[in-house]
Each structure stands twice: as C-alpha cells, then as structure tokens.
C-alpha cells in the first residue's frame, strides 16, 4: 500500500521535475526580469545611481514625448499593414505550393529562403536593394521605359489566346479559357512579336528619366490621400521587406493546415459541383481558421515587437520616420552619448506589453479562438 502511494506521489511529481529546467530559466530571465522592469518603470534609474521612486512620472513623460507618439503610430500602422498582407500572402503561397506540380520541392525550398537567412544579413541586402541608385529604382525605371511594350505584350497575348480558344470552340471542342498549351503558345508568340517590334523599331520604348525615389533618407509619407493615417516612405520600405521575409514561415503553417484538410470534403464538394471559388470559400477558409488564428496572433506579436530592421537601418533614415515602440525602448536605454533613461524605457516596455496583450485579446474575440473554429 505504502509503496503504491509513494509511486503515485512520484508520478505526480515527475512532470514538475521535468519542467523544472525550463521553469527555472523562465522565472529567472522572464519572471524576475519582468518584475524588475515593472519596478524600474516607477523610478528614475540610470544604471549608475540608486533608483529613486518617482511614481507615475515616467508614464506621464512618455505620453508627452513626441518620439513616443511617432513610435506608437508607426508601430500600429506597421502592425495593421504587415499582419494583413503577410497573412494573405502566406495563404496564397501555400495554396500555390499545395498543388501537385513537377519540381514543387524546389519551389517550396526557394520560397522559404528569405525566412531562413539571418535577419541582419537580409536587412543589409535590403539596404542595398532600396538605395537611391539601387535595384528597386532600376527595376522601376526599366518598367517605366518599357511600359508600352509590356501593355502591348499582354494585349497581344490575350488576343492570340482568344483567337485560339475561339477557333477550338467553333469546332465544338471542350476547351477552357486558360488552356495551358494555348497560353504558352500565346505568350511565346506575343513575346517574339514584341522582341522583333522593339528591335526593328516599330514599337518605340519610352524615353523616361531614371526613377529617383528616395526610400530611406526622407520624411515623406504615403499614400497622401490618407492624410495623418498615411505612413512614411522608409517605413513602407521596411514593411515591404518584412512581409517578404516573414510570409514564408506562415506559409509553412498554412501548408501543413492545407494538407490536414480531409480529402472527403473536396470529393463531396466535387460531387455537388462546387467551383474552385466555392471550395476555397466554404472548405479551405473555414478549415484553416485555427491556423489563421495562430498566424494572425503571431503576426501581431511579431510586428508590434519589430526592432532589428529599424535598428540596422539606423541612421540611414530619419528617426521619426522609422521609430517603432521597440526601437524607442532601445534608444532610451542606450541614448547616443547621454545618460540611460531606464525608467522611461521600462515604462514604454510595460506599455508595449499591455498594448500587445489588449490587441491579441481583441483579435481573439473577433476571430474566435482555436477551439471553436475548426471542423465543420
């Protein structure tokens, strides 16, 4: 009897013993650190003198600080735009990569590359990409130069495609509008026509000045019709890049989710004569709801804490244009050559934590939690 109860006690204890190492680091590096930060947020600590209690002064001060207001606006804009875009983009990528096509493994690996590369390295490439005479401006210039040709190319391809499909339809053959073999032929012929046209001078290219968009060193905002809701151009550049680097990770989650959807559902839908759009709307989206919840939650947390890309961009863009809440905290702890303002940084950190918590909780209300989304 006694032996048994001992064993039972041991069994009850076992999980805690196994959890202990993780709990230990959690308590020391998160729990203790968090308590310290809460305490510091009510003091005027500067890393050297003993902290003195100043009550709510730091919280009042950050709300008076122009930089904090800018950081708040930048962070919220960044969160809204990037989370939306990366979720949609990840879903589209996953849908595409879920098809059975030759060489799909290559595409999966290739699309995942931006997420594997180190964030610092990628940001350095990014700085080069957005230079005033960098790759992006070059591509935009080329696009402007060949805009006529591109439009004409698409137009010619469409006409060729319609002709071919029309011809087949007249012969009562079952073809769809996007018949792959015809599409290939249309694009090829159209391309050859354009190439010859440009080479022989029948189709003029536009003579435009090279694009000279300043991506970093600017306080301009975009889009202008949004007024105070518009975001700065450098922040927009960071958004573009962040979407590109984070989407593949979320794509992986979606891909796993897509492969979990039971085959029977598709079969049933096919029996009912559902179109592609219907399958997407009534099977894929509801089935992926738990994944979407996860993706959006992780996206919100990640974007609110975005720091590295701003920090590495650093002095290349005006601070007011790119400062985010996480970067604001950092610049207060290590201000350029003045005393650390740990109190203000801590207050801002607590504020960011609360804000993240509130936003994620609100999102949970809207999207519903993991449990009740799923299986129909």
């Amino acid at each position: 009897m006694r032996n048994l109860s001992l064993r039972r006690a041991g069994e009850k204890l076992a999980p805690y013993v196994l959890l202990a190492p993780f709990l230990f680091t959690l308590i020391i590096f998160f729990g203790y650190a968090f308590v310290r930060v809460v305490y510091f947020s009510f003091t005027n600590y500067d890393l050297f003198q003993q902290p003195q209690w100043v009550g709510l002064k730091n919280y009042v001060d950050i709300f008076r600080d122009m930089d904090f207001a800018r950081a708040m606006k930048n962070s919220l804009t960044f969160m809204a735009v990037v989370t939306t875009a990366q979720t949609l983009f990840a879903l589209l990528l996953a849908l595409f990569l879920n098809q059975k096509v030759r060489g799909m493994k290559f595409f999966r690996a290739a699309y995942y590359m931006p997420s594997v590369a180190s964030s610092v390295v990628v940001t350095l490439i990014f700085i080069w990409f957005f230079q005033r005479r960098g790759v992006l401006n070059f591509l935009i210039s080329k696009f402007n130069e060949y805009r006529n040709v591109i439009v004409l190319f698409l137009f010619a391809a469409a006409v060729l495609q319609l002709l071919q499909v029309g011809w087949e339809k007249m012969r009562k053959r079952p073809v769809t509008l996007m018949e792959p073999a015809f599409l290939f032929l249309s694009l090829l012929v159209s391309f050859m026509l354009m190439f010859a046209g440009v080479r022989l001078g029948f189709i003029p290219t536009r003579d435009v000045a090279p694009a000279d968009i300043i991506w970093f060193n600017t306080i301009k905002t975009w889009p202008s019709f949004l007024g105070p809701l518009s975001f700065s151009v450098p922040l927009g550049a960071i958004m573009m890049f962040n979407i590109w680097t984070t989407s593949p990770t979320f794509m992986l989650l979606y891909l796993a989710g897509l492969q979990d959807i039971p085959r029977e559902l598709y079969e049933a839908a096919a029996m009912d004569g559902a179109e592609r759009w219907h399958v997407f709307r009534y099977i894929i989206v509801p089935q992926l709801k738990p994944i979407t919840f996860l993706v959006v939650t992780m996206g919100l947390i990640g974007t609110l804490q975005m720091f590295d890309q701003v920090a590495i961009l650093g002095a290349q863009a005006p601070r007011q244009s790119i400062i985010t809440l996480a970067y604001y905290i950092y610049t207060n702890i290590f201000p350029s050559s003045s005393s650390p303002r740990v109190g203000m940084a801590s207050a801002a950190a607590i504020f960011l934590a609360l804000l993240t918590f509130v936003i994620v909780a609100a999102q949970r209300k809207v999207l519903g939690s993991e449990g009740d989304g799923g299986h129909v």
């Binding site: 600080d65 005033r132 600017t218 350029s336 003045s338 005393s339």
Partner: protein
C-alpha cells in the same frame, strides 16, 4: 573530486592574477586591436618587466559606448578604457570613472600641463580630470588632385574662402553630371565646422541653442545650396556611407574629413593622387572653424589595482608611444612637447595631411565635438534638417523651424 580540483585551479588563478596585477585595457576592435597589441609588445611589456604588472587588451567590436556603459554599471569594466569626448560627459558624471588629479600630482612623467589644454578640458568637470587624451583629430579638406587637374582648376588652398572654394568645386562639378565637387554628409559632425567659421556656437550664454542665429543660417544655406546646385552630393546618394568613401569612389572631388581618412584611402584608393588643406575661411568673419575629436584613457573607479593601472596609463600616453603612433600615420599626439615634430616636415602626403589636421586645431573658432548632457540627441534635429533640405523635400526655413522645435523638445527633457 573533479569539482574540488576545479575550485582549486580557479583559486590558484585568482591568487596568481592578484599578485601579478593584470591590468585590463578596453578599446575598439578592428584595426585598433592590431595597433594596440603591437604597441603593448613594443613599449608597454618591456617597461613593465619586473614590476609584476601584466597587460591585457580587450577589443570591443560592437558599439563601444553601449559596451562601456553596461560594463561600468555591472562592475565588469576593464581597468583602463577609451573615453570619447562625444559621449564622455554622462559617463564621467556617473561616478564610475576615477578622477586622476591625485595620480597626476604624484607622477613624475605625466602631468596635466604636458597635455594640450583644450583637449584636457574636454575631460575635465569642475576641476576634476577624468581622462588623459591619447590623441586628437580635426577636419581638413581632402581633395582628389586628378579631378582638379582634369577640370583645369587650381587645387583648394589655405587662402581659399567659402566663395573661392565654391567656385573651384563648381568648376570640377561641371565636368560631368556624375562628378561632384564636395561630399556633403547631412551631419553636424562635418557641417558644424563651417557653422563655427561663421561664428556659431552650439550653446549661447544661457545654454540655449538658436538655429536662426544668422551665422548658423549662413552656413546652413551655403552647405545645402551646394547640394541643390549639384556642386555637392550626399554620400548616400552615390551609394557611399561617408565622405571618405565618396572621395575614394572618385565621383567626388573633395571631402571634409579628419586624418582617419588616410587609412581608408590607402586601402580603397591606393593610386589616387590627393592632397589636404585647411578648411576655407568664412568670407565675412575671415575665420576658419573646426571641430576637435578626441579620445582619452579613463580609469575604472572600481578597479582592484588603480596604481598599477595608472602606471600603464603613463606608458600608454608617453612621448615615445605617441611619436610611434604619429609616425605610423594613425593619430596626432596630445602632448604639448610633440607639437614641433620633425615628422610634420616630411615630404609625403600622409605626413602633410596629418600636419594640416594638426594645424586645424588652433586656427579660428575651434570647438570640441561634445554637446554636454544632450549628447547626440542635440545633433539629430540638425542632421535631419540638413538631410531634408539636401534631398529637396523642404526649404531651409521650414527645415530649420522644424529642427528648432525638435531641439527645444530634446533640451526640455
């Protein structure tokens, strides 16, 4: 058993370290590591033979200021470390840097008077000396001789004022749309020297800053108009990080930089013919302006062996060491006795450039690169105004008004 052995070894190490008095020196990584290691090998170790003092250089590859603030606060800082006049203010006030007055009074080889006064002042608060300057730098005009020859324009010279300097640069810029006269980094750290020439000082007698001071406006407009006219260019716009990179790219005929440019020109543009001359004079005041950048050795107030550390500090700032550093073309000595230096008369471009930089410290309105308790936050609004005007986003008046508002917010904090 193993554990006891480990503890014993550690105790032994601690004891031997205490008796051997190891002095840890903290400085920048990169090229500094090589120079410091060689200097320690050549001068410091032989001099310390038999004293039981050993020296260990600890290079910091990352942001040094952030490192030292952290290390001083955590009590892990080295015994001696770099103190840059730009950020020294807040560190010296923290109480973790040892005042050196008592040591200097006792010393037979290093006294306050041995060091150039204006440099020492950058590390003195209320009569307490917190750092011994190891060297200094100022700005000079570094120019590409080939581009001036090609344009058929005279080289910039010590007689130039802003107007004649501008004309020469404009003539070079006229060669080709992709060639510019002057690199114009949007930074007070370079532009400030011109503002000083016009008679601007960062803080007036009440400690306030007025960006609409006519002297400041004059310099601001001269600098930005050069960019708007295509005579100068921001380095970032030709994909360069700084004026030295722009000069080395040979797309820009001149840059306002310090002697630190020499090493990078040696590496990046070894075949470029260049020269150096003093900054141009302001046409009305007839004065030059300049900024002094200086780095000192500071001592950790919590160091376990301060006397040994000071002994090492004496060696690090000795005449032989400074002469050696100078002759390698690395930095200008801070010791008064080394001002009349045979090295400066050598007929090579690096020696002459160093001499020009040396002269820059005592010609006209020269101010240290430090902005009291505000530090870099003080410069930032001005840097942004320069950048906004140079990239044609706003006019100078609007930019300065915005900068003044932001600066006032920084100074009220």
């Amino acid at each position: 058993m193993k554990r006891i052995g480990l503890v014993l070894v550690m105790m032994l190490l601690a004891v031997s370290a205490a008796s051997a008095q190891q002095v840890r020196i903290g400085g920048h990584g990169g090229t500094d590591t090589v120079i410091l290691e060689e200097m320690i090998e050549l001068f410091i170790r032989p001099a310390l033979e038999g004293t039981g003092i050993t020296v260990q250089y600890e290079p910091i590859a990352d942001d040094f200021q952030r490192y030292i603030v952290n290390a001083l606060s955590a009590g892990t800082a080295p015994d001696l470390f770099y103190l840059d006049s730009f950020w020294a203010g807040s560190v010296m006030r923290s109480g973790t840097v040892e005042p050196l007055n008592a040591y200097l009074e006792k010393s037979t080889v290093l006294r306050g008077e041995d060091i150039v006064r204006s440099l020492l002042d950058a590390f003195t608060i209320d009569g307490q000396i917190y750092g011994i300057p190891k060297d200094f730098n100022t700005l000079a005009v570094f120019y590409n001789k080939d581009l001036f020859d090609y344009a058929g324009v005279e080289y910039p010279s010590n007689d130039d004022n802003w107007d004649t300097f501008y004309e020469k640069l404009a003539a070079v810029a006229a060669i080709d749309p992709d060639i510019y006269g002057l690199a114009l980094p949007p930074e007070y750290a370079r532009f400030g020297a011109l503002a000083h020439a016009a008679g601007f000082t960062p803080f007036d007698e009440n400690g306030a800053t007025d960006l609409f001071d006519p002297a400041f406006v004059d310099a601001f407009r001269w600098y930005t108009e050069m960019g708007l006219e295509g005579v100068g260019v921001m380095p970032a716009d030709i994909s360069q990080g700084w004026g030295g990179g722009a000069l080395a790219s040979e797309q820009v005929a001149a840059a306002l930089e310090g002697a630190w440019i020499l090493g990078s020109l040696r590496d990046e543009a070894p075949n470029m013919q260049y020269g150096a001359t003093l900054l141009p004079k302001h046409p009305q005041t007839g004065q030059r302006g300049n900024i002094i950048y200086t780095v000192a050795w500071g001592m950790n107030a919590n160091s376990p062996h301060k006397d040994a550390a000071f002994r090492v500090l004496e060696l690090l700032t000795s005449e032989e060491v400074q002469q050696w550093i100078l002759e390698r073309g690395l930095a200008i000595p801070s010791r008064v006795a080394l001002a009349d230096n045979p090295y400066f008369t050598q007929d090579n471009v690096e020696a002459q450039s160093n001499y020009t930089v040396f002269l820059g410290a005592s010609d006209g309105n020269v101010l240290p690169f430090s902005f009291g308790v505000y530090g870099g936050d003080w410069m930032q609004p001005i840097d942004q105004a320069l950048s906004a005007v140079l990239s044609k986003q706003v006019g100078w008046e609007e930019a300065l008004r915005e900068a003044q508002t932001r600066l006032d917010a920084v100074m009220q904090r």
